[in-house]
């Protein structure tokens, strides 16, 4: 894909678990185990899944907050996962991040001005002091905070306002792509709407690409162009928003959609309630990782691991059911609307 700003291929991150008498490695957490996707310029790709599925690890691996176990991360044609720290440093400007908790991600001992000026200085983007001040002021305008608030400290702001500061800091470096790791999850409903709208406006205005990591499907549907669903370190389905929500092609996506409570009392919908919990990523199940909870699992699912493959144009799914004729495939057809009561 030529327009891709970010390409991730077969990304793996295994965290060693130390234990035993000599403190050697006794096992691994297979947090991310072979994940590939690409994001085009100006596109939003959402990574959804439940806690522990590895979605945040993917974000951190792209940011190179740790070294990856295997795979490739390519930013705008340049491979960045193998770069040395010093060559990577100027490139870090192009990928910025907004984290979930705006309380712990701002330094309490720095004024807002210094928080926003730091990336501008670090990357030598300001010509002089006046230019720096001007840039900081423009950032405050962009995130709709009053310019005179730059002299205040983080604790003087509410959660929503702090998240605006975090967004402004990410924008300060003029990135190509922003990774939002549950960036609106900790916010109250009415504030969440403000930040969602702000992110959408900024994306349109600045043509940013975005990797939107979230567990909230309703917000994802509102924000995104494409969606990748993760389960236990793997992507199980990728599709455009409309395809995914109208005709999910993986049993896990189906269950996820039907599990979201919808604010419509008395809505008639098809319910799929999964049994049990997500298995441990230390010892993921053999075969398809979802087979322990899948309502449609059959023999082959317990043995062979299904590969992610295209079932329709632009719609990828990792499920053996797609080898069956449509009449025997419960995932054939478009039943998204029944699952989420969107009639």
């Amino acid at each position: 894909m030529s327009g891709a700003i970010l390409e991730v291929s077969d990304l793996k991150k295994h965290f060693p678990i130390h234990g035993g008498f000599f403190g050697g490695t006794t096992a691994h957490v297979y947090a991310v185990d072979g994940v590939s996707f690409s994001i085009a310029k100006g596109e939003t790709l959402s990574l959804v899944g439940e806690s522990g599925c590895g979605k945040s690890t993917v974000g951190k691996a792209i940011l190179r907050l740790f070294d990856i176990t295997a795979g490739q991360v390519v930013l705008d044609g340049t491979r960045i996962d193998t770069m040395t720290a010093s060559t990577l440093r100027p490139i870090r400007r192009r990928i910025q991040v907004v984290f979930q908790d705006p309380f712990s991600s701002l330094n309490p001992r720095m004024r807002v001005r210094d928080i926003l000026a730091e990336p501008i200085r670090n990357f030598g983007m300001a010509k002089n002091r006046a230019d720096l001040e001007e840039r900081v002021a423009l950032l405050m305008d962009k995130v709709r905070l009053p310019r005179d608030a730059v002299n205040r400290w983080p604790h003087e702001f509410s959660g929503g306002q702090r998240q605006r500061i975090c967004i402004a800091r990410a924008l300060a470096a003029e990135p190509d792509i922003i990774i939002c790791d549950e960036a609106v999850s900790a916010l109250d409903v009415s504030v969440k709407a403000q930040i969602v709208n702000l992110l959408q406006d900024l994306q349109k205005e600045l043509g940013l690409a975005m990797l939107f990591i979230s567990h909230d499907l309703a917000i994802v549907e509102h924000m995104t162009h494409r969606v990748a669903v993760m389960y236990l370190g793997k992507i199980v389905e990728v599709a455009t928003k409309r395809d995914l929500f109208s005709a999910p092609k993986h049993p896990y996506t189906e269950a996820l959609l039907s599990a979201v409570p919808v604010p419509m009392p008395g809505a008639q919908r098809e319910r799929i309630i999964l049994k049990g919990d997500v298995p441990s990523p230390i010892n993921p199940p053999q075969g398809c990782r979802f087979h322990t909870r899948c309502p449609y699992a059959f023999d082959r699912c317990r043995k062979d691991e299904p590969a992610l493959r295209q079932t329709e144009a632009g719609h990828w799914s990792a499920c053996h059911l797609h080898d069956r004729p449509d009449a025997e495939n419960p995932l054939a057809g478009a039943k998204g609307a029944d699952l989420i009561a969107a009639h």
């Binding site: 439940e50 806690s51 509410s158 929503g160 109250d188 409903v189 009415s190 504030v191 969440k192 709407a193 403000q194 969602v196 709208n197 959408q200 567990h215 499907l217 309703a218 917000i219 549907e221 509102h222 928003k241 409309r242 929500f245 109208s246 269950a255 996820l256 959609l257 039907s258 599990a259 979201v260 409570p261 919808v262 604010p263 419509m264 009392p265 008395g266 809505a267 319910r271 309630i273 999964l274 049994k275 049990g276 919990d277 997500v278 998204g336 609307a337 989420i340 009561a341 969107a342 009639h343």
Partner: protein, 331 residues
């Protein structure tokens, strides 16, 4: 007409703080009928959890101060002695908290914790209590209950811990169950399991439920009647269908408009989310007019001066707004 199971009248829970009195709950009245599920919704800091804690007198006094009356089966909980109150907690009224990890005792096995209420309130022996604990674990759908009953909270997943919390809460067949954000800490597929369990248990056990939540989706799925709180006050109350179809208070309208609806890409309703401008006001200074006036787009001088009373805008539908009489704009 028999008196409802629980009648809360003019409940005020205030906290003394170094910089003034925090009016966390400021004059709330509502009732709960036997076997009914009501939801209390609102954003953080609106006083919904403090309302729940006040109902069981779990607010430390001082710095807290609870005033008003809470009549449960005709008796005022606020005038009871501590001993009488203890006989009610966990027995007639029980509670489920948000964070199952911090609300279970990490050094006692699950069976002991479920059995504790049974031994205290029903005088069961240790052996009978454990047998009943296994029964309760089966009821809440925990596989291999005979083994799990001896396990400790850290050996269970988040969803299972919440099931244990529910088992503890239901052990003595309470008449009223207060659930404070019971699914907020859980993943969606696990949340669906727990909501399903709560619905199912409600039919079997018949307890009334007061559900405290900020999630309007959860409200729509389980509640029959909804109370919307804002800045320590009840601003609207209505049967669930009516509230979602025809919200009367501008705050409720804003709240409903600010949640993206799943399926928006299918129904072609991908509109910009409604924002409620501004922030929740500080509860430390008394607000003269309507508590929502500072953020309300319809606010007039009247709103800023005179606090609106709760008025019946439609049958069983009350809202505290001077202007909510006109038909609501569909949210």
């Amino acid at each position: 007409m028999p008196e409802p199971l629980l009648v809360v009248e003019n409940l005020q829970t205030h906290f003394r703080t170094p910089d003034g009195v925090n009016r966390a709950v400021d004059g709330i009245s509502f009732h709960v009928d036997a076997g009914e599920t009501i939801a209390v919704v609102g954003e953080s800091g609106c006083g919904k959890s403090v309302t729940a804690m006040s109902m069981l007198r779990l607010i430390p006094e001082p710095p807290g101060k609870i005033a008003g009356s809470i009549r449960f089966q005709g008796r005022d909980l606020l005038t009871m002695t501590d001993r009488e109150m203890r006989a009610i907690r966990g027995n007639d009224i029980s509670m489920i908290f948000q964070e199952p990890m911090t609300s279970l005792n990490p050094v006692l096995n699950v069976g002991r914790q479920i059995g504790e209420t049974l031994r205290l309130h029903q005088g069961l022996s240790a052996r009978d209590a454990e047998a009943k604990a296994v029964e309760m674990l089966t009821l809440v759908g925990i596989p291999a209950p005979g083994r799990r009953v001896r396990e400790y909270p850290h050996q269970l997943s988040g969803g299972m811990r919440q099931r244990v919390m529910i088992a503890i809460a239901l052990a003595c067949n309470p008449k009223l169950l207060i659930a404070d954000e019971p699914t907020t800490a859980l993943d969606v597929t696990i949340q669906a399991q727990i909501l399903d369990l709560m619905r199912d248990l409600k039919h079997r056990v018949g307890a009334a439920i007061v559900l405290i939540t900020h999630d309007l989706g959860v409200v729509a799925e389980v509640a029959e009647r909804v109370i919307v709180m804002y800045a320590g006050k009840k601003v609207e109350e209505a049967p669930v269908g009516q509230l979602f179809r025809n919200p009367r208070h501008p705050y409720t309208q804003g709240l409903l408009g600010s949640v993206p609806k799943l399926g928006s890409s299918l129904t072609g309703t991908e509109t910009r989310l409604a924002e409620i401008p501004g922030l929740v006001p500080s509860l430390k200074s008394k607000i003269p007019g309507c508590v929502f006036a500072s953020r309300c787009t319809y606010a007039t001088d009247l709103c800023r001066k005179v606090a609106p009373a709760l008025e019946e805008k439609a049958p069983h539908h009350v809202a505290a707004c001077h202007y909510a009489i006109r038909e609501a704009v569909a949210a």
